[in-house]
Symmetry: C2
Subunit: 316 residues, 2 copies
């Protein structure tokens, strides 16, 4: 459903890769006017084709898909592309030099009220904004792939960002049905990718030790903690697992055991290198690696969509 | 649906705590005869009341709930309780001395074909079975709480367990609609709890650093990686995130960045102690801690059930 009541109507999407296309489709389906800026000659063809591919999912999420293409423009000239933007969503290459030059240029040509949002998961705002007159205007607006489907957007302000600018970014994402989370500090990887990485380390360790194979590890996750964490995060889950006193009970009864597991894991090095990578890749090839990627993705998106309907109905 | 075609018909449940009651209700709903062994005087009252509480969930999962109580017996004498058991599911206190004595006694009185299964998450089979004549008869059959709802059962054989015994344990759990996973090595915490612990460490670190609060951390999880891991585990997810070459692409493009996050986390100590615990508990109290536990649990079970229907329809 298009519940967009934000003052933001004109959005410029910079960079028409997978993430840029997903944002573009979502913005259009939420009733916004979108200008796509990308230097590639085939950008328009790829974006319009990408939108067609995403249409069924957007429709399944209850969004109108009739007039998407009519409100979409392409403008390879950056200055012109941002001239009337209320918000810029940047999805260019994750290279510091690229971002620095880009934002300094965008700042010259965009209106004073324009929100500058970067999808980057890797380049902190302090690096991106170094050459700007007002570096506080750049915020991270990091989606979880694919942006049109997964609700989370991590919003990370520059240290000089005014609170009201951060709030405008939050309001923008809320208005288009996302679940923005404002991080109070900028840390490498932000929150979601750090959590992912932490679990991956333990998952790789289990395969390295030969306890399970990669597909068995995945089965463990989808049949236990994945189900748990789709319905409640780790803190509320351990609160419920702590008995009548909740999280205090967890700390009393289980904290020591958990810390022993941390220690047992910490003393075991994990490094992606020759023999470990070979083992992982051989097991991948022997299991889901044999299924065409498009088939895996279609199955995932189908389940994901069904889940979102069950869990987040009415939130977007 | 009761799809039980296993030769196991008589199960003895030792220990009628929360886990024992959940197993009992599931076994009964899957058409088995159950004997509950517990020394507490109020065991029968508690178990029969517990079954009533779980009935709506079992019914919602499509299991027949009409004759549960008729096939349930109570036998405080251990020797008599296991006399005709095809399988024993043990849920007693996690104390080595208790388990040792218990299994040595059970071995004396149970038939030769009986499967000996321990729900323990903490006591390895080598310790549990030390005083048995045939220590290979004890296996871990570790459920994920609550056992009647979450599919995963981690099956961990003793080093002396015959492969056909492990296979009978797997077949037993499969027959009652569970998703048993056979671990090839016994490691502290088994797999699911190690993964949980690893993610909890990073979650606690994010709160310790003040990046997010406990409820914000939970929101990040339920709106991103929780959704992802309910539909696919970390390996297939990173395979899909690796581009056309799959997991090889992930290793090429992202492994280094992931390892930097591991390092950044590793050098930051996390220990459940005074000021950190105070911070966690204060944030819990300010958010979901204010909601009655029964209300949190009901909401979780409701969502969990909806999810299982969407994701695992036809598996049980």
């Amino acid at each position: 459903m298009n519940t967009n009541t934000s003052p933001i109507q004109n959005v410029t999407v910079i960079g028409a890769g997978v993430i840029g296309i997903s944002w573009t489709a979502l913005f259009l389906a939420q009733g916004l006017n979108v200008v796509v800026n990308d230097v590639a000659a085939d950008a328009e063809a790829r974006v319009r084709q990408g939108i067609e591919t995403l249409k069924p999912t957007l429709a399944a999420m209850g969004m109108p898909i009739e007039t998407l293409h009519e409100r979409l423009r392409f403008e390879p000239d950056l200055a012109k592309a941002v001239a009337i933007a209320d918000a810029v969503q940047e999805n260019g290459p994750d290279r510091i030099a690229f971002k620095r030059k880009l934002w300094a240029e965008v700042e010259k040509h965009a209106p004073l009220h324009t929100l500058f949002l970067s999808s980057s998961s890797g380049i902190p705002t302090k690096h991106q904004a170094r050459d700007m007159l007002q570096p506080g205007r750049v915020l991270i607006g990091h989606p979880f792939n694919p942006p049109h489907l997964i609700p989370l957007v991590e919003v990370v302000p520059h240290v000089k960002t005014a609170p009201e600018t951060a709030e405008r970014a939050m309001a923008f994402y809320r208005a288009i049905g996302k679940k923005p989370m404002l991080l109070k500090k900028e840390v490498p990887g932000f929150v979601a990718n750090r959590l992912q990485a932490a679990m991956l380390r333990e998952a790789v360790l289990m395969v390295k030790w030969g306890v399970v194979t990669v597909d068995e590890l995945d089965d463990v996750v989808t049949h236990s903690i994945g189900l748990r964490w789709a319905t409640g995060g780790p803190f509320v889950s351990f609160h419920m697992g702590g008995g009548p006193t909740g999280f205090a009970g967890f700390l009393k009864h289980f904290a020591r055991g958990v810390q022993l597991l941390w220690l047992h894991s910490k003393i075991s090095p994990v490094r992606f290198s020759g023999s470990l990578n070979d083992k992982l890749l051989a097991q991948v090839a022997d299991s889901f690696g044999a299924t065409p990627m498009a088939e895996l993705e279609a199955a995932r998106d189908h389940k994901q969509l069904a889940l979102l309907r069950v869990l987040h109905a009415g939130q977007s």
